[in-house]
Amino acid sequence: MEIVSPGIGLILWMTISFTALVLILHRYAWKPILKSLHDREDTIEEALNTANKAREEMKDLKADNEKLLKEAQEERNIILREARKVKESIIEQAKTKANEEADNIVENAKERIEYEKMAAMTDLKNQIASISIEVAEKILEKELSRENKQEDYIKKLISDAQLN
């Protein structure tokens, strides 16, 4: 029977010590533990939220980037196309100009050649003339070195002159 009859002393001590235990543990253990748990859960939740937000932002950024990239590509294409056009026109222009220039040069060269030719011809003519005179002189000298020849020649010259 003693097993189911509670002792008054034990009830008293249990009440006192259990109350004290609840109060002490509440003050020094449960309060800080539960607070830390709560704080940590908040931190984790916040971190998760931030991560989600960052992910969203990343997504947006990625989309923006892609858009930018596309735009840049298009722009590049346009620029390239224009550049090609410009290049072609420049080449075309250069070609025409070069042709013209070449024609001019050829023309000039021809003129020059003509001129030089004429100059050379005149020179040649003069030289031929002077050489002919020298030759003539030498021949005359040689012909006229003798008396009878001189006379003959003078006679001839006179006869020529009289004939004229």
Binding site: M1, E2, I3, V4, S5, P6, G7, I8, G9, L10, I11, L12, W13, M14, T15, S17, F18, A20, L21, V22, I24, L25, H26, Y28, A29, W30, K31, P32, I33, L34, S36, L37, D39, R40, T43, I44
Partner: protein, 436 residues
Amino acid sequence: MVDAACVRVDTSKLYLYIVGVSYLEKFFIIWHIIYKFASDKTYSICHMNSLSILKKFKTVFFVVILTTVMVLSAFFTSIDVFSQHHESRQDEIELIEEEIAKGELDAGKMIIDHLIDSHEWHLWTYKGHHVSIPLPVFLIHKGEFHAFWSNKLAHGHHHKGFYIEVQGDNKGKVLSTIQDDMLDDEILREEGTSGLPIDLSITKNVLAILISSIILILIFTSVARAYKRRKDQAPKGLQSFMEPIIIFIRDDIAKSSIGEKKYEKYMPFLLTVFFFIFLNNLMGIVPFFPGGANITGNIAVTGVMAIFTFLITSFSGNRGYWTHIINAPGVPWWLKFPIPLMPVVEIVGIFTKPFVLMIRLFANITAGHTIILGFISLIFIFGNINEFLGLGVGIGFSIPFAVFMSLLELLVAFIQAYVFTLLSALYFGMAVEEHH
């Protein structure tokens, strides 16, 4: 508290009934807990990083240690019982006369002796000498206060006119010799002047309560310090062992029973009750000092905790709670008016709830200890017939079954702490529920 006369039913039948019911309950609860743990995603997310492979090894290590402790405890219990057996022989002349003739172990007496409170903390008996821790005895008798050490009362000695009764209804209690003489006087007894002084001694159970309180304070202040030191970091060591349990109590017991808004107020009580019952259930399984005191299997202790639950429930009861008790809505008027049947049932219900809390814990723990002690007693009962038979029964039957029961008690230790906490939380939840 409970009047002893009211409970003068066949207690063994009462135990069997409650144990029988509660084993079904246990299996339901085990299933519930496993399901909860398995399905609780937040739990697994929050604690996945702390459960490394190393930790799993630690768990295996823990289980091995526990099993070893169980085997050892069964061994020590048997030694203890053995010494008790001899002690009863040694003291037989002045104590129990039947045993003189038989020289046999009275298993029932031995078991009860192990389950009840005591004025000294018996450690061991060596060659007939009892080695006990003497505890202070405080008595108030006839308006006078007496204080002395319990060793003055050992072995049936009388001191200052007090002695410890060894048999009868007052067995184990301190009685006054002077009054004891007058006990035969019917008139005095009827006037209520019994030989029982008011006993406020620091008994074995009181000391065990103080020891376990100190252990709890040491454990949880250190855990709290770990939380402060390692702010916002994953738990480590003792902290990571306690954290899942604390979170389990907070989320699965308090939040789900009381509600998100109001649970915080009750957390200190629920956590303290849980860990107090759990620790003392475990310490109750260990048969030697500082374990071995049957605290949670003591009706005064469970009664005080049940009274706490009752008081907290009653004081936090809102208008809706009391309305449902006095004048429950939705109940036909004829159940309330000429004969207030429903209100009476409800008011009785207020008291039966904590009463059941008290009985459930007390009976579960007591039953577990009784079974283990019963198994151990078998060794000596058979040993009295033949020594080798006793040895055979001990090795072949008693020790394996005692180990098995101890393992079961480990489970019961957790489950009963859980059930007490859960039911308290449910009662608080009923008291603060918002009725529409």
